[in-house]
Symmetry: D2
Subunit: 261 residues, 4 copies
Amino acid sequence: MVLREGDLAVVWIDPKRVYLVRLEKGKKLDTDRGSLPFDNVIGREYGDFVEISKGRAFIMYPSLDYIYDGLHRPSQVLYPKDIGYMIFKSGIRPGDTVVEAGTGSGFLTISLSHFLGPSGKVISYDVREDMQERARKNLELVGLLDRVELKLGDVRENIDEVNVDAVFLDMPDPWLATETVYKALKPSGSVVVFVPTVGQIEKTFLSLRKNGFVDVEAVELILREYQVKENATRPRSIGVTHTGFIITGRKSIKGSSEIGE
Amino acid sequence: MVLREGDLAVVWIDPKRVYLVRLEKGKKLDTDRGSLPFDNVIGREYGDFVEISKGRAFIMYPSLDYIYDGLHRPSQVLYPKDIGYMIFKSGIRPGDTVVEAGTGSGFLTISLSHFLGPSGKVISYDVREDMQERARKNLELVGLLDRVELKLGDVRENIDEVNVDAVFLDMPDPWLATETVYKALKPSGSVVVFVPTVGQIEKTFLSLRKNGFVDVEAVELILREYQVKENATRPRSIGVTHTGFIITGRKSIKGSSEIGE
Amino acid sequence: MVLREGDLAVVWIDPKRVYLVRLEKGKKLDTDRGSLPFDNVIGREYGDFVEISKGRAFIMYPSLDYIYDGLHRPSQVLYPKDIGYMIFKSGIRPGDTVVEAGTGSGFLTISLSHFLGPSGKVISYDVREDMQERARKNLELVGLLDRVELKLGDVRENIDEVNVDAVFLDMPDPWLATETVYKALKPSGSVVVFVPTVGQIEKTFLSLRKNGFVDVEAVELILREYQVKENATRPRSIGVTHTGFIITGRKSIKGSSEIGE
Amino acid sequence: MVLREGDLAVVWIDPKRVYLVRLEKGKKLDTDRGSLPFDNVIGREYGDFVEISKGRAFIMYPSLDYIYDGLHRPSQVLYPKDIGYMIFKSGIRPGDTVVEAGTGSGFLTISLSHFLGPSGKVISYDVREDMQERARKNLELVGLLDRVELKLGDVRENIDEVNVDAVFLDMPDPWLATETVYKALKPSGSVVVFVPTVGQIEKTFLSLRKNGFVDVEAVELILREYQVKENATRPRSIGVTHTGFIITGRKSIKGSSEIGE
């Protein structure tokens, strides 16, 4: 597939230099490894590379993982390891309808709408308008805005939707939203919560158990990266040691807080 | 949604007692917690529960994570933590075409076809016919066989398909398949490999780098489960400490083994 | 060194079959791998082996790590990984005086008196007389009782000693003992606390900071065991995933709760 | 204890600013947090603090863990977590004789001689004279040189000593030293090896098993640090993710390579 003006592309120089760009004639990408005029990219194909002053830049298809790398900001704590697990555990599939809060920078929103496909729907709540504007721009850039409804609102007070397939929470006090989440979900639907601190695990878990959720689990994923060299392969010495904890559960018909593990 | 004869359902008693069943009148599920006649389930809804002799059984929607629990066998090493990450990193999306080897018990096949949706396609190779028969039964049970093509064959020798979006390898010597995988992939397409031992990391990684793949990474995911009790929350004492390592890469146009990290 | 009647020895059959015994003529050790008459051991040397019905039993010197294996009971949570770190971080050395609470089964007591040597001293408090009797027997068995003073008492209320080099706490509510520990320690002396749950980390840490301790740190050690086979080396699949958390600090002269990290 | 000229002290400002100094009148320590004239320290006590331009400096007793912090250089990979475990597993105790190779910067040498006490002995081999000179200076500084014998030599070729209690190896190819180590050890004595890469685990482990060692184990320790704040406690986000692997074993009389796990 030949790249044309207006196409979205990922410029991959190395794992720490990944850029998501829209190709425009006469424009360029500036990096500390050199400059990349988009005129040199237009007419090439995904998978191809272009020489830059300090090495080579690969032009990659804007798949989800590269969108993540391209949009990722240091303040974010949701990592691919967490998102992949959260989506798997939620049981969602193409075509499902999902509620999310808060929107944040919109990266989980992007991931959810990616996996739900064109027939799926994400309704994303946030109490901050500025965050939603930022997310709107990101969604627009990657062409997924039509699968998403951004709502300014507080899920602790109300969720408009009912019978949704899953609810994802990435907010400071998810235990205050377990009742509204229960009402919004279809029976057997799943709730998936991400929290960064140890104290939030217990509050969220116990609140879910008290409010009609079963199969409640709390886990953490630790990612180890390996540095591979011939006869010298080893786990990397320095890296991310913590992002957060994931708590999941299922809506049962009729509360059943006494269900043990 | 009222459950009828012929419907697929998950019977969830506790995290270690999860059963995937097709509801048939007059039949029942026997467990060490008691017997569950399906006649007591037909007419109920997903999310509902039925009393059994030692507690309660929840009737859950057969979503992917429960299918996993229901089909999971001790010999398997691919866990939700690994599958979620592999799918995220692959960048695949609904409608894509994916090659997989080996088929094994078919659980990764099920996960892939689940996320690719009805317009997606999985071509799954295995050298063992008995494994593919087992996988075929599992795929039939969960209604996903029409999205999958099972092929008896050795991907180290040949992959029929070209221009596929991603290739997933879970086989003893994936480094012997990097050339055929390169040919099968579309440019910028991704390869995702799962291996259980430390020696396989290096061989796979270096073989990918030598054969035209860039952005090659090797990681491992460690899952910690938390045991939550009021004022006594802690990581679980005993559990799974290792499953395997995941190596990922992207096909570049023209080999570029010299691309550094 | 030829083994004689009355000598202490470790019988090592495999990592899960390690026995601490005192050699007595006419007696024997019974295991599920066979019986070992001590008459067959007397006259041998440490490092030697004796055939038993299902394999071989190695006769080992009763060094600290084997004493640990030999005395270890499933209920214990202090593991070598934790004890080694705790002793290192405490800064103690041969000849020091150390206070410990609670005594428990006496294994930390044994480790401390081992490293403090014949000129060192451990004062070990416990509120339960039965635990101290058990510990006394263990200390007698390994010949370290003369380095230890067992005291029935509650360190939350009082510690008799002053100017001690370090205090080790393995008790349910160590935050209630931080004031008495402060009084007992010499300036610059260290406190080392072991707790199993996440909620205890914060309480202990903040209480130490409020009561004149500086350089307060909280850590956890995760041990991974490797299963080594030619071309198939990998981390072990199942194992211990959690024991506890270690909080350490130093007594400063004059309280300094406001000292940041 | 009043501090005098010539005393060794640790200046602790925060966990990343720990300095080991010998107090000399008229001299001072310069840090990015301010300058500390030693005249302000002489006459104080360990545990006391001195105001500096940006905060406070605590004057601490030069215990082993602070010596570690004070001497630690980025290139080192042996961490307290590893050293504590290695010493525990070795079973050494005050008064023992231990061989070590290589000397490196001498930090393991310091730790060993610390725990062996004044009646213990460390013989430390290295093939590089410059490393031994650096170690000699460190040992002199902390007053432990009289417990250590530094030898220029290659343990793969020869170890002069016999009947030693334990041997510690931190060298690139420890599997080439297993025969000389076997000869140097007393029966039932222990060997403790530290290696950074995954390929070294297997080579070392299998070489020990082939050369008469039993109870051979390979482990890795992962340290997680916690960041404690009221209601916001969590594992630290970024940190050390790998140092190395520890392989331990015991000398048996007569080789027994066939001893299973």
